[in-house]
Amino acid sequence: MTAQSTTVDPSEIARFSAIADEWWDPNGKFKPLHRFNPTRLEYIRDRVATHFGRDPRSAQPLAGLRLLDIGCGGGLLSEPMARLGASVVGADAAERNVKTAAVHADRAGLAIDYRHTTAEALAAAGEQFDVVLNMEVVEHVADIGLFMNACAAMVKPGGLMLVATLNRTPKAFALAIVGAEYVLGWLPRGTHTWSKFVKPGELDSALTAGGLSRVEFQGVSFDPLADRWRLTGDLGVNYMALATRPA
């Protein structure tokens, strides 16, 4: 696999390489995301493969699928998706993230189309995807309704959207903000604003408004004893949603 051309200026490669190393250091700043990654990757792979009638254990279960990773950050999801065969567009509103991700994918020999843009701009340009990944983004955007509409509009008929976010519950306040940011120091203080967390009912309304139908909600909890994230029935803190656009 050869990397295709990116938006990166060679003079900036050194600078963004350093940032990429930071993003990809499993014990660095983004450690919580690295810990969480296998659990959400497995969920995405299994649901997408099942929906499109693929074997999740095959070498490239996502082969031939066009996939958008909205809010791609350093590419922690985009790269595994590309290895599993998807044709990936990674989009991020922060230019620094896009350049960082592009440098890393280039070094890893992966062809990923990273773009410094927004969901709204992509939707306005008429982009269409088999799968839209909307992971840990909605709790950061200014207007959920607008953002979700733009994301939903890019899901092809018969396509899928996966959303991951945090629930606006007292428990989420205790664990995700007090616990993760203040007590454990897993995340920088101010990473999350509790009032922007999204209740499942609100997410459901936004999906419906965008013409999608929700298939399921799935809770995700951290198991401190096993030091691993697990899928659970508890939607009280971290949860994911799976939705389709009827064909």
Partner: protein, 438 residues
């Protein structure tokens, strides 16, 4: 091949040029071959890992210091290994078993007793019958060269598995996106991960700055094969003698493999004895219950030591088998621990591969280390304690351990616990050790 070597050598020469300015770093040598995994050491552990990973779609290059033909020769390694039930299940699951089935001797009974050379074993002893925990044997005795040959056949059938020998991985150079393995023949391989399966004195472990802890036992292990008149009925017998344990392990036919531990000085003398005198020493310990006994083929000896690596992982490097741990052979668990490492590492890497994670992903390696390190340290400590308890001729200690053996013999649950440990079916098992596919 010749061209490859020259190309590699030229690239190495480039590396030794004075470092230019930081703006234009030295170009890395162009790797001659690329793979997901480079395994340094193609012994039983390294090659089993290679087969497991290659079957699941990872590309693997195995580098070994010995030419393949040398390794398969009886004179290279005439030893046999007790492969526990769980590890046998893995060999079956990996398709390796059919190539060795006819030459694997099932262990049907285990007998543990206390004694002195030239006398009958103490009447207080432990007897384990495999029927008490299920209908499968505790494990199989497999001659190392038989296992190596079967592994080699499996390896040859896998398109994604390449063997390079004779050559050594001299050093590795881990970068953020890949690691380069520099070989003794000048070649350079690029991989996502290098596995150090390069044995007890692992060069790659030392180079990575990973320390080991442990001590020498002041004992030597002697291995020899004997033939006897009457069949052994699949009985493995471990006799605790003052110099150390003396184990006879059933091989196919009327043969047994002896694993015999003695103080260094005595062992050295034993190794020098002519065959007839050596056989007399064997008979004093082995007894006459199987009729006439005599040694056949060469003898091997090696100093016994405990060593446990502080860490099993470094950036894009992971330790397995003897590179990570070496324990006393008292419980016949050395290779089994290595094969348990293989089962855990293969599962972690293959599961990660199927999630689109690359083999060098530090999160995956950390999971392997957490999974295996405690188990290996525990067994290291247990075997150390057993050796101290049994390599001892003080009367009160002898009495206590005889009573202990007799007590275990009478307490059903305790006995079953020991038997499950002997067959390696305790703990959170990797799928391969349960006989399930990856």
């Amino acid at each position: 091949m010749q061209l490859d070597k020259e190309g590699g050598a030229r690239n190495i020469a480039c590396m030794t040029q004075p470092a230019p300015t930081p703006e234009a770093p030295t170009p890395a040598p162009t790797p001659i071959q690329t793979a997901d995994l480079v395994i340094a050491g193609g012994g039983m552990v390294g090659l089993t890992l290679a087969v497991a990973c290659a079957r699941a779609g990872l590309s693997v290059i195995v580098v070994d210091a010995e030419a393949r033909a040398t390794q398969l020769d009886e004179a290279f390694d005439g030893r046999a290994s007790a492969v526990a039930l769980a590890a046998c299940r893995m060999l079956k699951s990996l398709g390796i078993w059919p190539d060795l089935e006819g030459e694997a001797q099932p262990i049907l009974d285990i007998r543990v007793s206390d004694g002195r050379a030239g006398r009958r074993p103490s009447s207080l002893f432990l007897h384990f019958d495999h029927g008490a925990i299920g209908d499968e044997p505790f494990g199989h005795l497999i001659e190392n060269r038989v296992l190596r040959r079967a592994l080699d056949r499996s390896a040859a059938r896998l398109a994604g598995l390449v063997q390079i020998n004779p050559a050594t991985v001299l050093r590795v150079e881990a970068g953020p996106d890949r690691t380069l393995a520099h070989l003794s023949d000048g070649r350079v391989l690029a991989a996502q991960l290098v596995v150090a399966a390069d044995g007890r004195n692992s060069r790659l472990r030392t180079a990575a700055g990973i320390a080991t802890r442990g001590w020498s036992y002041g004992q030597t292990g002697i291995v020899a094969t004997v033939t006897h008149e009457r069949p052994h009925q699949g009985l493995a017998h471990e006799l605790f003698l003052p110099g150390g344990p003396f184990a006879s392990l059933p091989l196919t036919g009327n043969r047994s493999s002896l694993v015999w531990t003695e103080r260094h000085a005595l062992a050295e003398a034993l190794m020098q004895l002519p065959k007839s005198a050596f056989d007399d020493e064997i008979r004093r310990r082995f007894g006459d219950h199987l009729g006439h006994v005599e040694s056949t083929g060469p003898r091997w000896s090696w100093p016994l030591a405990l060593h446990l690596a502080d860490r099993y992982v470094a950036p894009r490097l992971v330790l397995v088998g003897d590179a990570a741990h070496g324990i006393h052979p008292i419980a016949g668990q050395g290779l089994n621990l290595g094969l348990r490492d293989v089962a855990a590492l293969a599962e972690v890497l293959v599961d990660g591969h199927r999630l689109g994670l690359e083999a060098g992903d530090a999160g995956l390696l950390e999971r392997y280390q957490r999974w295996r390190r405690l188990d290996n340290v525990m067994l290291g400590v247990v075997t150390d304690g057993l050796n101290r308890l049994f390599s001892n001729d003080l009367a009160p200690v002898r009495l206590a351990r005889d009573l202990g053996l007799a007590a275990v013999e009478r307490i059903g649950p305790l006995k079953r616990f020991f038997m499950r440990h002997a067959s390696g079916t305790v703990g959170t098992l990797p799928r391969l050790l349960e006989g399930r596919p990856l």
